[in-house]
């Protein structure tokens, strides 16, 4: 029988072999080759799992209809009338008491969050829980954006892991919000901007260059049934933003200009008069007022920007604050502007 000291010596002796040991390089290569079929099968299973869950959800949402004859039609009719009266009363009360808000503002529930991690799009609940990956392509996925009804998701897909956004080509992709049915709506766009959903969710707008074709601003059906159509050809155009009614788009152009154009390319006009190094920032060039009559935007130099409001009546823009970001408040009247070091304490309400 060993005493405690001898046991400790034996244990110490044994621990001397617990040191790092690198596997052979050839073993790693062979091992990867053997493991890759397992990885691919797992990927197929995961995709199948997502599709299965989607079909199950669809089945729950639309249960099979069966005709069930009512034992007595009169009580059923009375019940229906009472129910209809209750619904009409409720609607009348709600509509009468609720404040009418212009699009795109209005009641909304907490939905899901879309975000990018390690080059892939993930969805999570509104508290950040239950994250799940919904893109599985190679390369890098960026800037997921939900359609306004939340049923679909558009994003940029770059083929390479490392991305130079302005120089690389990318695809604009639209898929169902659960990650199924991805459709490439625009192929190989050089300098592809963020993708902007029209308010009705039927059209995607973006900027970039496609195969040397004339045009810098494009719209394309969100279901990918037709190729992109150019609506704007001013050089250096970028980041279109839909008007609330979906009839017009604001779009930036070099150097430091803000333009507004009809969705079909009609009536393009420059609405900013000043000379700026830059207008807006990538992905947030401007924001339309809820009534669609004016636009708030930031402009200046990269180091010093100001907030401007411009109407569509041809009048020059008005500088309303120094700051780097600005947003319309829901009623469309006052506006909050933030300084570059934006924090709640520095925000202040401004009258438009």
């Amino acid at each position: 029988m060993l005493d405690a000291a001898m046991e400790a010596r034996i244990d110490a002796l044994l621990r001397r072999i617990d040191v790092p040991g690198d596997p052979d390089g050839a073993y790693l290569d062979a091992s990867i080759a053997e493991l890759l079929p397992h990885v691919r099968r797992a990927r197929r299973q995961d995709r199948s799992w997502i599709g299965q869950r989607r079909r199950e959800i669809a089945a729950i949402a639309t249960p099979p209809r069966r005709w069930q004859p009512s034992p007595s039609p009169v009580p059923a009719l009375v019940s229906l009338l009472v129910l209809a009266a209750i619904v009409v009363s409720l609607v009348a009360v709600l509509v009468g008491s609720a404040r009418r808000l212009p699009a795109p503002f209005g009641l909304a529930a907490n939905g899901e969050l879309a975000y990018v991690a390690n080059g892939h799009v993930f969805l999570a609940d509104s508290a950040g829980g239950h994250p799940r990956q919904v893109t599985f392509d190679t390369g890098t996925q960026m800037d997921p954006a939900f359609s306004r009804d939340g049923t679909r998701l558009a994003y940029r897909r770059f083929p390479a892991p490392q991305v130079h956004v302005d120089a690389d080509v990318a695809d604009a992709v639209v898929m169902d919000a659960d990650g199924s049915n991805p459709v490439v709506v625009a192929h190989a766009v050089k300098g592809l901007s963020h993708v902007a959903w029209s308010p009705d969710g039927r059209t995607i707008a973006f900027s970039g260059s496609i195969d040397g074709r004339p045009g810098n601003g494009w719209t394309v059906p969100a279901n990918g049934t037709a190729p992109p159509t150019s609506f704007f050809s001013v050089p250096g155009a970028w980041d279109p933003v839909w008007s609330p009614d979906g009839t017009q788009l604001a779009i930036g152009a070099d150097p430091g200009q803000l333009w507004v154009v009809g969705r079909d390319g009609s009536n393009p006009r420059r609405v900013s008069r000043g000379t700026y190094d830059e207008v807006g920032q990538r992905g947030e060039i401007a924001e339309w007022s809820p009534d669609g009559r004016s636009i708030v935007f930031t402009a200046g130099t990269p180091m010093a920007t100001q907030v401007f409001v411009v109407g569509l009546d041809g009048a020059p823009e008005r500088q309303i604050s120094h700051g780097s970001r600005s947003r319309w408040t829901p009623p469309g009247r006052p506006m909050a502007a933030c300084s570059r070091t934006c924090a709640p304490a520095t925000a202040r309400g401004l009258s438009s």
């Binding site: 001898m6 001397r16 617990d18 993930f122």
Partner: protein, 187 residues
């Protein structure tokens, strides 16, 4: 970093690793050496066994990916799987020992010859001594001395009670002392 963020990052890492072939290759080359090293020392520096168990560990990890909840580092999770593979290996070894006891004895003699090479690294002699022990002696030393498990935890892995595992540990230490002492004096 909050705990939740850590969980999400761990899950992200695994999902990203399985998302495409290149990502997997990169992730595997980063994580496999750590799992391999864990196994190698615990199976007496037997490279073939370590490679085989490492491979089995990753296959199991891929197939059981939904069980990873992100509460631990991915490599920690992988080593947990590797530990079970190691336990399976020791159990299989024990079954073989019972069936082919004479062959095992002969193999030990061959290993002892190899250990007598002058100038042999000390750690090699220890590993050889460990490998010459009965499978369950190797297992209990690996799980309790190297992994720091309790007798109850190690016993669950090996299908023994805590008391039996504790007794086994005493015998395993004695076996190792004898095996190493003989080899060390010969070296």
């Amino acid at each position: 970093m909050t705990a939740r963020t850590g969980w999400v990052q761990g899950i992200d890492e695994l999902q990203h690793a399985l998302a495409d072939d290149d990502a997997f290759r990169s992730w595997y080359r980063r994580t496999a050496p750590r799992v391999y090293a864990y196994l190698l020392s615990r199976c007496g520096n037997d490279v073939e066994v370590a490679e085989e168990l490492c491979q089995q560990t990753f296959i199991a990890a891929i197939n059981q990916r939904s069980r990873f909840d992100g509460r631990s580092d991915v490599v920690t999770w992988l080593c947990g799987i590797a530990r079970h593979k190691l336990a399976d290996h020791f159990r299989a070894l024990e079954r073989d020992e019972r069936r082919q006891m004479h062959l095992v004895v002969r193999q030990i003699a061959v290993d002892a010859e190899a250990a007598r090479v002058p100038g042999l690294d000390d750690r090699v002699a220890i590993a050889d001594a460990l490998r010459s022990l009965p499978a369950m002696h190797q297992a209990v030393l690996a799980f309790i001395v190297l992994d720091g498990l309790t007798a109850a935890e190690a016993g669950r892995l090996m299908g023994r009670s805590a008391g039996a595992t504790q007794s086994l540990l005493h015998r395993a230490r004695e076996s190792l002392r004898r095996a190493y002492g003989e080899e060390a004096s010969d070296a």
